[in-house]
Amino acid sequence: MNTLDEPAAAAAPVIEVYGAYAHYGTASGPLPVLDGVDLAVGRGEVLAVVGPSGCGKTTLLKSLQGLAALDRGSVTLQGRPPAAGRTDTGYVFQQPSLFPWWSVRKNIEFGLRLRAHSGRPSAARRRARADELLELVGLTGFHDFRPAALSGGMQQRVNLARALATDPVALLLDEPFSAVDTLTRERLQRVLSATLHALGTAAVIVTHDIHEAVFLGDRVAVMSERPGRIVETFEVEEKRPRTEEFQHGEYLAALSARVYQRLRSGDERASASELTMNREPVAAPSPEPRRPLSKGTADA
């Protein structure tokens, strides 16, 4: 479990991104995807990132895990760059990506069996950890099942459990529930919310589902069209874990509508007056890293 005993540690962000620039290599030359993204996620905090398709959300998330390289800018996890051997972040992929030849339990144990995990607990400890997580995601009794025998939603629960097994301080989720039906998605969102709350795990969740973003996030960052920048960040004023009532309540609907409006208006650089009230002006990329958005910068 992540402890909150040190006030200094609690105040320091778990994830910090300064001035992240990235591009896709295409046949017709480099295509910029990230255009100076700054963000910070505090201990135990959930940041939801919404944006149009292809705005670089996944690239941003992958750069946090060290799976994608940035052209410029810096990423730090608890003050250090994401490098080999780090286990402080767990990654949940968009597609259920379990090893088909292993049981559910062995899949969950995967991270614990690797050298990268400093502890490398005994078989009995791994097993106990896997069963504990299965209970947390509501799959008790399914430990011996193979992924192929599970529904998409159940597989995504296993994915979640696998990412949590190494006890990361932050979870990175890439549209984790986009491949499941609406009812399952809402149930999984509640499972995720409760799980993150129970473990005190911070998270960055990338999604194109605004309701999901508002339901899960302590803050919702809105990204512009590609090349993506964070154009506004909304504060979600609701304690976690969040309930089904909140999920279908008026507050969520109203805030979602505002996020939707912001998403639609996109990155209107011309009408910057509104933007500059809420965030730093869009400036040419400075050689000095800019400060990340602090909590609640926008839309107070």
Partner: protein, 269 residues
Amino acid sequence: MPASAEIPRGSWGSRVRRLVLPLVSIVAGLAVWQLAITVFSPNPLAVVGPVQIARDAAGLFGAGTLGPDIGLSLAQLLIGLVVATAVGVPAGLLLGTSRPLAAALGPWVTALYTIPVIAVAPLVIVGLGFGFSAKVAIVAASGFFPLVINTQAGAASVVGGGLRDVTRAFRANAFETLCHLTLPGTAPHILTGLRLAIGRALIALVAADLFGSTSGLGYLIISGQQNLKTDDVYVGVVTLSVIGIVLTALVAFFERRMNETRTARTEQA
């Protein structure tokens, strides 16, 4: 909780298909063959019937030559296949996981794969002598290619798939990625390669025996041809076929087992 459908394993229908039908087919084929021999009585130098083959086999066995011939050929075949696997699988894994290596060595694999074994067998024998090791080398070289090609294709698809991102996200090192992802993912392809290698290795074995051998099933066939003992030719050919069927069935059994365990509902099933 959604109950997933039970996957029928080894049901009666599938067992009948797998075991009974092939046997019925073989017995029926032999009966038709024997009947055709009796009815048409063709030139016995060209075609002999199963009964005559069995009689000759029994005679050769009684004379104490068939047993050692089978033993020698089996030994050469199995050792050759082990060598082919030991070299072919790592080579395939390397080619499948390294694009530069695949690009650089791909033409060599293709070029060497298409060389008829009969063309190079004498050269190998010149190099390694008439003995056991030359035969093993020829068998191994023939079995190597199906193994390398299948392993490479399997490894490339595994490493190019989404699970590679998972091992990267979990920061697995190269060895862990090999053990947890590449090998288990490629295993079915390796077995398919082995199954194909058996067929090629059998052909290579006879080809190797063409050049200066004094025993083995290939020798039995070739000396039968030279001495107009058609019975012996058939005994050699049929014995090789039986070896091929048995080895292939063995590998197919493991392939099926692997597929069944992987699609089974639970690990214990």
